[in-house]
Each structure stands twice: as C-alpha cells, then as structure tokens.
C-alpha cells in the first residue's frame, strides 16, 4: 500500500495534481475526470488525454495487446474506440468525451503492459481534440468515481 501511495505521489507531482489516499487498493487521481466504464480523462484547453484507470487495469489482469484507433478518426462519448486484451478477454475501451483522435500512444504496441504499470502516465492511450467541451460535465470527479468503484466492488 505504501509503495503504491509513493508511486501515486510521484505521478501526481509530475502531473501537478493532488491525490487522495483511499481505503481500498486502487489509485484515483484528484484532477482527472472519470467515466463509469473506468476510463480517465485529462482536459487541457480543447485537448483531452485518456486512458483506463488503476481500478480498470487491476480488474483486467496483465494487458497483452492494445487495439489503437487510426489518427483522424472521430470518437463519441460512451462509444467504443479500441480494445485491450488480457487473460484471453478483449475488453472494449469507451471514449469519455467526443472528439477527433490527434495522437495515439504507439509505445503500447510494443509495451502493452504500461497500461498496468502506469495507467495514468506512460499508459495513456489516445489524445483527442474535443468537439464539445460541455460533455465533460457528465463525467465523475475523483470523489464520485472513488465511491462508484467502492459500490461496484461491494457487489460480489
């Protein structure tokens, strides 16, 4: 736990955001927004970076493959734009906001495991140009997302 908190602190200071230590294992970063399908998004003006959360990567298992979208492709909030494969399961990744893909993390083709070891930093998946800045309001903040994860995990 302590090691993960240290890692989270390093990530946070790199991204210049603050974190909250939670009772359960997964890390949630304070200044990101979150979708119910466990993707995080960092908005910077009209650009957004996204990936999957620590909770998501923990529940997936070791990622062996990441299917990335083509540059220039449109993505829509809540719709699938790619997938990850782990433990013989392909899981769709949904877009937390709508926009146009301007950059994809090519490193993931060689090192898909970065999604597990560094879900908020080196494991980022795509960057988009936002088409509707208002959409981010539909997403959860870190407190809401933490609670959401707790409720989901309590189901079994």
């Amino acid at each position: 736990m302590a090691a993960r908190f240290l890692w989270a602190s390093r990530v946070a200071s790199h991204l210049r955001i603050s974190i909250a230590q939670r009772g359960f294992a997964s890390v949630v970063l304070k200044d990101l927004k979150y979708a119910e399908s466990h993707e995080w998004v960092k908005i910077d003006g009209n650009k957004a970076t996204f990936g999957i959360t620590d909770h998501a990567q923990d529940h997936l298992g070791d990622v062996v493959y990441v299917e990335l979208p083509d540059l220039g492709r449109s993505v829509s909030q809540g719709e699938s734009f790619g997938a990850v494969e782990s433990v013989k399961a392909t899981s769709d990744i949904n877009s937390p906001v709508s926009g146009k893909v301007v950059e994809v993390n090519e490193v993931l083709s060689e090192s898909p495991g970065l999604v597990n070891t560094s879900p908020y930093e080196d494991g980022w998946i795509i960057k988009v140009e936002l088409s509707d800045a208002e959409e981010a309001k539909k997403l959860m903040d870190s407190d809401k997302y933490s609670k959401f994860c707790e409720e989901e995990d309590a189901k079994h």
């Binding site: 399908s37 923990d58 070791d62």
Partner: protein
Amino acid sequence: MRTPRTLEVWKLGTVNYLKSLKLQDKLVSERKANRIPDTLLSLQHPPTYTLGKRRTDHNLLIPEAELKSIGAELHYTQRGGDITFHGPHQAILYPILSLRSIGFGARSYVEALERSMIEFSSLYGVKARAGNKCETGVWVGDRKIGAIGVRISSGITCHGLAFNIDPDMKYFEHIVPCGIADKEVTSLRRETDAQLPSEEVIHEQLVTCLAKVFSYDDVVVKEDPSAILNTLEDDD
C-alpha cells in the same frame, strides 16, 4: 434482501459458427438494454477453426485453402485468445452476462469460467487446474482440456469456453493450439476411464457447474432452439 439472479439457458445442439456469432451479437444488445436476463448458450459447432482479435494466423499450420478439404471452416473474431478448434464432441458455453451487475472484471470473470470447468472435471475424478500466467484455460497436468476466449463490450460478455469431451484430436494437429507450441491437447475421454453419460447430460452438468460458480439462484432452461435461431433469419 438481494434480488434473486436468474440464468436463462438455451440448449442449441449443433450450430454453424457464423450463425452463433450473429445470435450472440443480438443477445448482447438485448442484454445491454436489459430486455433479457443473463443468458447462456449451450452448443457445439461443426469443425471450425477460429482466430481472436490479434489475428494470429501464423498458428494455422495448413493453408486456408486446404481447410475445406478437411471439412472445416475458418473464422476471424473479436474475442481474446489465440487460434483454436471447435468441433463435434466439444462442449461450448457462451455466457451473455452483465459483468457490472455482479461486480466482476475480466480477470475475475475468466477465473470463474476456469473454476466452472475445473468443478465439472472433478465430477469424473479428473484433477484439472487453472493455467499459469499467460496460459489461461484449464489443464490436466501439462495437457489442455478446456479453452477460453471472451469478448467484453460495455460490460456484457460473449464468446466463452470450450471443453473437450471427446473431439477428433487430429484436427488440433493443424494448429498451434492457443499459440502454445509445446503442450498437448486432451479430452475428458482421454483423462478418465469412467463411463461417460450422453452428451446431453454432460452439457447439463457443465451448465450446472457454471451456474453454481456464478451463484445463480434460478436456472431456466429453454429447449426450443428454433425460438431464437429462427428469429435471426427474420433480421436478414
């Protein structure tokens, strides 16, 4: 008081692979919209080789053109996992479940599928185990008896597991099964001297094991496959 959970099981007999994909697509949409409960398809396929999303066709050892001559088809799918073979006397279960309703992630789901097959194997005194890292599936010693390949979209599962009862093992010689070169494939027939009941009974037992592992309160069996298979034609 927890709401009781129901699993609806369709016993479909032998179904062509493409037809089963179409059916699953339809059921996934229905499940996503909450119009149907968690559903399980219990079936077999005619001889079929399938590939997963990574399209590892270098693990098919004969030219695609030759497949027809051995009476088999080849299909590319969106599931996880490598190349595999499906055919008569291999029990297939395709669970169409909402993972979010049970708080499962991909890893815990696949582990539960493995446990279902392990539990089923034990009914015949066969000591099976889950695979090591990177070897998802169910093994007896170093021999693979059950395979898994799953797709999860918006938290709804499709594809599933394949358990070898007594398939024609020669078909496995034309592939590197699951991309693992140095391990054998085995079957229930090969691992036990026990008298095997009819395949219908075997399928039922496998379904029961899965329902138990996933803690379903009720299992409703639908025995008229034409009820859902025929509706596929209407959509064409």
